[in-house]
């Protein structure tokens, strides 16, 4: 059983991660992790101390659990960059601060690092209003490039194909073929996938009320800092981690909202998708990195669309967003040594990293409720 400990500031509760049932978990590890949560209240997504929280929490866990593999996500610059209009200088300072946090972590922990930026952000040029269709267009407000399309009429298709800010409309079959998917996986993919031109974002139902200042750019390539490795695509990070861990402690560090333009360390461009598809920030991109395989079809909902067309088949994993099972093949699950993950980008680190222990902020639509830790494994020797 995986155990989740939620810390809502001054109050903790413990659950079976799968069922969401309250459990009376006890033991040294539960106490240790509960203590870490208590000592590190999350300051908030837009707070200047948000990235510092990642470093401090990670270091605290390392000191008490002694892992050989660490996953860290720093996302403050993604949230702030997304919603706060900034001068060039302010933006440069924000990026520099993010890298300073990574440096601080590495110098104190002594871990070797692979650092990947998840992609540039660019100013929003405008929305593509897809609400007045006969069919239904769906995307999350975090997505810019992609929206799913269901049941379009001929008239809809005529309008959408002629839209100046829509680059392409791809049929489900082409998406499934691109990722070599099965019939079962095809059922998760919308009838059509619409692709926006750079700088534009789809406006469908379920749009957020906050308007972004910046949205993800066309990140066909993302920056990768992996000294001593030659990695062509994000699917190659898995192998480099494996290789590194043979001789030393390794940290995989993810910088959200940082692309080729803002990456301050030596880096090489790394393919962030396949053919016409690139990953936007989200679960599928993480899973692809942590499993070494394209996982778009495992988690298409994270890439920008979800159509609630049927009754949910299960209420399992209520604390894990849209995940309904623990993903197989993640590096943390496979690695025999001890591992931890810490992140300030929503509540999915415990699923995408697969680490023994994970700590993440519990912020829903940027409302800061506290933190959550998940204990997947407590049987690994020191």
């Amino acid at each position: 059983m995986s155990t989740a400990i939620v810390d809502a500031r001054g109050w903790q509760n413990t659950f079976d991660l799968r069922t969401g049932d309250e459990v009376k978990a006890a033991g040294a590890l539960v106490e240790m992790v509960g203590g870490v949560l208590q000592r590190h209240p999350y300051p908030g997504d837009m707070d200047p101390g948000s990235n510092r929280w990642v470093t401090d929490t990670g270091l605290d866990l390392i000191g008490r659990y002694n892992p050989r593999l660490v996953f860290l996500t720093y996302a403050a610059q993604y949230f702030s960059g997304r919603y706060t209009p900034m001068t060039k200088e302010d933006r440069a300072k924000m990026m520099a601060d993010a890298f300073l946090e990574v440096e601080r972590f590495l110098s104190i922990s002594g871990f070797s690092a692979i650092v990947v930026g998840m992609g540039d952000m660019i100013p929003l040029s405008g929305f593509i209003d897809a609400t007045a269709l006969d069919g239904l267009a769906v995307c999350t407000h975090w997505s810019a490039r992609y929206a799913g399309l269901y049941g379009p009429s001929d008239e809809d298709m005529k309008i959408l194909r002629g839209h100046p800010h829509i680059q392409k409309i791809v049929h489900r079959d082409e998406v499934v073929r691109l990722f070599d998917g099965s019939a079962q996986e095809a059922s998760q993919v919308p009838e059509y996938l619409m692709l926006a031109r750079e700088g534009y974002a789809f406006k469908t139902t379920a749009g957020a009320m906050r308007t972004p200042a910046r949205i993800p750019a066309f990140n066909f390539d993302v920056p990768l800092h992996a000294p001593g490795h030659s990695i062509q695509a994000i699917t190659g990070i898995f192998g480099a981690l494996e290789q590194g861990l043979a001789t030393r402690n390794m940290a995989l560090i993810v910088l959200e909202g940082v692309g080729l333009h803002d990456f301050l360390w030596s880096h090489s461009p790394c393919r962030n998708g396949t053919e016409w598809y690139y990953y936007e920030p989200g679960e599928a991109q993480y899973l692809t990195i942590t499993t070494g395989e394209h996982r778009f079809l495992d988690y298409p909902t994270g890439s920008g669309y979800k159509y609630l067309d049927k009754k949910e088949s299960t209420t399992d994993y209520p604390l894990s967003g849209l995940f309904k099972s623990i993903p197989e093949g993640t590096f943390g699950r496979i690695f025999p040594g001890r591992s931890i993950a810490v992140g300030n980008k929503s509540m999915f680190m415990h699923m995408v990293a697969g680490a023994d222990l994970s700590v993440e902020c519990f912020s829903r639509n940027m409302h800061n409720q506290g933190t959550m830790a998940v204990i997947h494994r407590e049987d690994k020797p020191r």
Partner: protein, 314 residues
């Protein structure tokens, strides 16, 4: 949201919506209306209160005139069609205050009624007798925010002088509409009002579901201390003996979100709370509105939605 034009009060931005998306009724929150069903959640802009802790300040407190480009421009028919396409069984106004958009909501209600879709809303209940009747003609289920009773709290945190209209309107709406009530608690500010609120609710209808929120310090209260969950829970101890449906949530993992049978204590409805509009139905134990153990009737707006909707208007 209104202006005087040619001697008449007119809505400035009719049929412009700040939000429009599918949601679960538990997440609004409605715990005793159509459990587990999906609604189309909508909102407009602006508010008649100025709460210090507004969680939607970017909608409620901003100048609506400068936000127009961001809005959805959807006619009543388009909204109803959207609800159907998203398999929603109701439409709920939940972002800001419905009294700032009454004409648009009346148009929408007409279209929704024709399609058998009931409408519900969140409201602060601060409105005239006439507006209350208009809202009662639009909505069949309400969650009314009774933020506090004391003069000091209302003046300092909400910006109003008295709650009399809110109390009057809760009384009125509870007569023939489904009503749930929500109170965000701030220690040292309105936790002293708990007993008075319980007195009032138990007098109106002791089976009114009461949602006590642990306030999230946001907006002008950002940086303030988070209210203490154990202390609020303790403060609710005597209230629980008087009101059978008290829920304490708005924080992840709350253990006070299940519905217990008022007669025998059996857990009738189980929920999971993710806080901040993320509550979910977990399990319905038993059939219909009866306790599976003792057969006691549970206060629920349920059955076929069309039936309940029509029934509420009889």
């Amino acid at each position: 949201m209104y202006a005087v034009s040619e001697g008449a009060i007119k809505e400035r931005f009719p049929h412009r919506w700040s939000s429009c998306g599918a949601s679960r009724l538990e997440s609004i929150p409605f715990y005793h209306a159509y459990p587990g069903s999906r609604c189309l959640a909508i909102g407009t802009l602006s508010c008649n209160f100025r709460c210090k802790y507004c969680s939607n300040a970017f909608v409620a407190k901003e100048d609506p005139a400068i936000q127009q480009e961001l809005l959805y421009n959807l006619s009543p028919r388009e909204l109803v069609n959207m609800a159907k396409k998203l398999n929603c069984s109701s439409i709920v106004f939940n972002v800001n205050e419905p009294t700032v958009s009454i004409p648009s909501l009346m148009d929408l209600a007409e279209e929704a009624k024709a399609s058998g879709l009931p409408m519900g809303c969140l409201t602060n209940g601060y409105m005239t007798v006439e507006s209350t009747e208009l809202l009662a003609s639009i909505f069949s289920f309400f969650n009314i925010s009774l933020k506090g009773i004391s003069f000091h709290f209302n003046k300092t945190y909400i910006g109003i002088n008295f709650t009399k209209p809110v109390l009057r309107n809760i009384r009125r709406l509870a007569r023939d509409r489904h009503v749930e009530v929500t109170t965000p608690i701030i220690e040292g500010a309105n936790d002293g009002d708990i007993d008075t609120i319980v007195d009032f609710l138990s007098e109106v209808d002791r089976e009114i579901p009461w949602h006590v929120f642990r306030l999230l310090p946001e907006d002008e209260m950002t940086g303030d201390k988070y209210p203490d969950i154990r202390a609020i829970d303790a403060a609710l101890k005597s209230a629980r003996k008087r009101l059978p449906y008290i829920y304490f949530h708005n924080f992840v993992g709350s253990e006070w979100v299940d519905t217990l049978c008022p007669a025998c204590g059996t857990v009738v409805i189980e929920r999971f709370s993710l806080g901040c509009g993320g509550d979910k139905l977990k399990r319905l134990n038993g059939e219909g509105k009866l306790c599976p153990t003792c057969g006691h009737g549970i206060k629920l707006l349920t059955g076929t939605i069309r039936d309940d909707f029509n029934g509420a208007r009889q």
